[in-house]
Symmetry: C2
Subunit: 437 residues, 2 copies
């Protein structure tokens, strides 16, 4: 997406952010907070309207403190996710937000968008991993919420309101993050399944057998392997013949042998009952890394192929097979697209991405783009799902939000936006479109 | 606390709640939602002002549905917590909110107050256990938020705003609750420690050794045992000589023998280094139950003794020993109180309750009550803690909230209250006192 050039400011302290926002408030100038720029829905760029100030958090990149007693790491908003994870690891702890873009995305942006990722099944999204935020509110006042407390029931949950508000209610300048003790051992299994229905059944079996030990449960389609072979020929793929459907499971625990035995046992039972065709269990940390490199290379392969439309949807887990079957059927009735459907099956979150047939380009399908999106979103809506599971609304989905949301929810959101940001200066255009109030 | 008698309505459907609230909105009559009535800060009673309608949720007590694929139980707000837990257990799952009052409190009240309890260390508070709420907003419109989705980033987090808002932004009428696979085995250890400093050190040791397996870590003082002996003579206590300080640890896992070995090993190491004086490890489920009955009988013993003032505070975990030492010293300088300090050490949450010396009554200390409270709260504030860790603000702590909160937070809360409930009819007096806007 093309961004509009505006003044870019990169303050180094919360007080400087407050001064900038206060001036913008007085002059009624928009403020667009900018983190790592890795968002996928245009939340960090401004297309139209009066030129806003771009507020980059990149120079606010210090780890402020660590409290091992509380399992809390306090950081500036501009710290890279990879650096947050590194600081936790150095302390023998895990910061459990895991995204492919960790080397360039910033924790402030992760929180502003309530980022998800690989281990939501076990640890939750960004919101679940944050104990408190410091933020500059739209009038330039500072919300001092950097709590190390795990329990604090004094008034409304402003933290969770700011998290996921995509910069429309204030600028997150710092955060106190919840760390956990990492499992002592992790084992992954790459499992061929006949189809998504069996994948969901396998998830149920795993939850019953090793529920507390499952950290991730990812669905990968044959199209994903095909794209990897087309774009990243050097990547080592796990199976000689790429399976039409597979799942990548991550499990963790304190006893390696017991954990491994339990995984083997549940996969053997699943094989017996026809849920599983073949399975590889990681025998070393490097094999586990290789499994996950396959999964984490899929977004890059998608970018190289170039999607016509990418959807980040969730539906109730039991409805995933129906969603895939019906969406495939409807879209393939329009044109022989190549569809790469993959994602976080354990959370009910799929990335359902639609690509040109081989030899054609995305622009050949410009006329179909809206039809594709509407076909998918209507189905998601019918199945009681979400049109944005983890990427947020940004500027790309504002119309869709209005169309598919509960009217009472939209009304309450608009009331809150008007109350907290009466001049509409915070990230104008995001979430609400050009008419926030 | 004495409540004011008003009209009590007990509707059976969400639509009936909506109709009632809409009429109240039009007539500008207050609405006080009422769950199980077990709250400790007067959130559910109304002392003064125009007679409000008391809206009891007790007749909305149906389990609406269960989705095992999603690990979600959907219930009416008036279902008893014990019944929620029972329905989850019947399905082979755990609803991980665990409170002594589960037999009388209702899930709607648990959510409205963001209840905590015993297993917050592992599973979080009520907010962390809820995927979505249905609520009637102050104008009588219905927020349809009963999502089964584990990921949904479409707009502001109204769920978490309503949770913990103590009925001041709307009436929660239903909830979709997150279930988990329970650990296959649970083991508890009752451990004598020299003092709170060693208890915190033991917590650190346990987190390093079996971090992922710790479900609860509770501090119990000698005064707690003394009160139990005074009021519940039939209760079997674990040690022949009551320890001045002890902790009750709950751990869970899929392998009983491995788990037991790890607990023994960490306690042996702690004993070696002087952190632990003696320890009992539960050898059966009934022994584990007996351990927990001791812990869960303490609130009842406190009620029978009759506190002068009860505090529900949290501080950063590492500051707990300093808090206890300084608070004890300051209060015992006022009078020879009996102080029963106990609670959720793992979360930094203590119930620090102050009782008359033996042979005297609480009314003998009426003149000291404000001094006691202020002494404790000033110390909590200095140590960057919270004056209400899990009980909320209700009507008893409205002044304290204003005194100890960040002014930017209070301003934002008042803006939100005015935006969502412009006529101020929802639970008038709670959180904000008599002047909400």
């Amino acid at each position: 997406m093309k961004g509009q050039a505006g003044v870019i400011l990169a303050p180094t302290t919360t007080n400087d952010v407050a001064t900038i926002v206060q001036h913008c408030f007085e002059a009624r100038v928009g403020v667009v907070p900018y983190g790592g720029g890795t968002g996928l829905v245009g939340g960090q760029v401004c297309e139209s309207g009066p030129t806003p100030v771009i507020l980059s958090l990149e120079r606010m990149n210090s780890v402020r403190g660590l409290s091992l007693d509380d399992d809390v790491l306090t950081v500036d908003a501009g710290v890279l996710l990879a650096d947050v994870r590194g600081a936790a690891q150095k302390a023998g702890r895990l910061f459990a937000l895991s995204l492919a873009s960790e080397g360039s995305c910033q924790i402030g942006g992760n929180l502003a968008t309530n980022a998800g990722g690989i281990q939501v099944l076990r640890y939750g999204s960004a919101r679940d991993l944050c104990l408190g935020v410091e933020a500059v509110m739209p009038d330039g006042s500072i919300l001092n919420g950097l709590s190390r407390l795990h329990k604090d029931n004094t008034g409304y949950d402003l933290r969770d309101l700011l998290i996921g508000s995509e910069g429309t209610l204030g600028v997150i300048t710092g955060a106190s993050l919840r760390l956990v003790a990492p499992p002592k051992h992790s084992i992954s299994a790459f499992v061929q399944v006949p189809d998504p229905t069996q994948a969901v059944a396998l998830l149920g079996l795993c939850k019953d057998a090793i529920g507390d030990s499952i950290y991730a449960f990812e669905l990968i389609s044959g199209r994903g392997f095909e794209f990897l072979r087309e774009t990243q020929a050097a990547l080592r793929l796990p199976f000689a013949l790429d399976p039409a459907w597979s799942v990548l499971i991550d499990a963790g625990g304190d006893d390696e042998i017991a954990l491994s035995a339990r995984i083997e046992s549940v996969l053997a039972a699943a094989h017996q009952s026809g849920l599983v065709m073949d399975a590889l269990i990681s025998q070393s940390e490097s094999q586990r890394d290789a499994f996950w490199q396959v999964r984490e290379s899929i977004p890059e392969a998608n970018r190289k192929i170039g999607s016509i439309y990418s959807h980040d949807i969730s539906v109730p887990v039991g409805r995933i097979p129906e969603f895939i079957a019906r969406a495939d059927k409807a879209l393939l009735g329009l044109a022989p697209f190549r569809i790469n459907c993959f994602g976080h099956l354990g959370d009910g979150n799929l990335h359902y991405n639609v690509f040109p047939e081989t030899g054609r380009a995305r622009r050949d399908y410009d006329g179909l783009r809206d039809t594709i999106k509407e076909t998918v979103y209507e189905l998601v809506h019918e199945l009681e799902g979400s049109i944005s599971a983890e990427h947020g609304i940004g500027r790309l989905k504002t119309g869709d939000l209005n169309r598919y949301s509960d009217p009472t929810k939209i009304k309450a959101m608009r009331s809150i936006k008007a109350a907290i940001d009466p001049r509409g200066i915070m990230n104008p255009g995001a979430i609400f479109g050009s008419e926030p109030n």
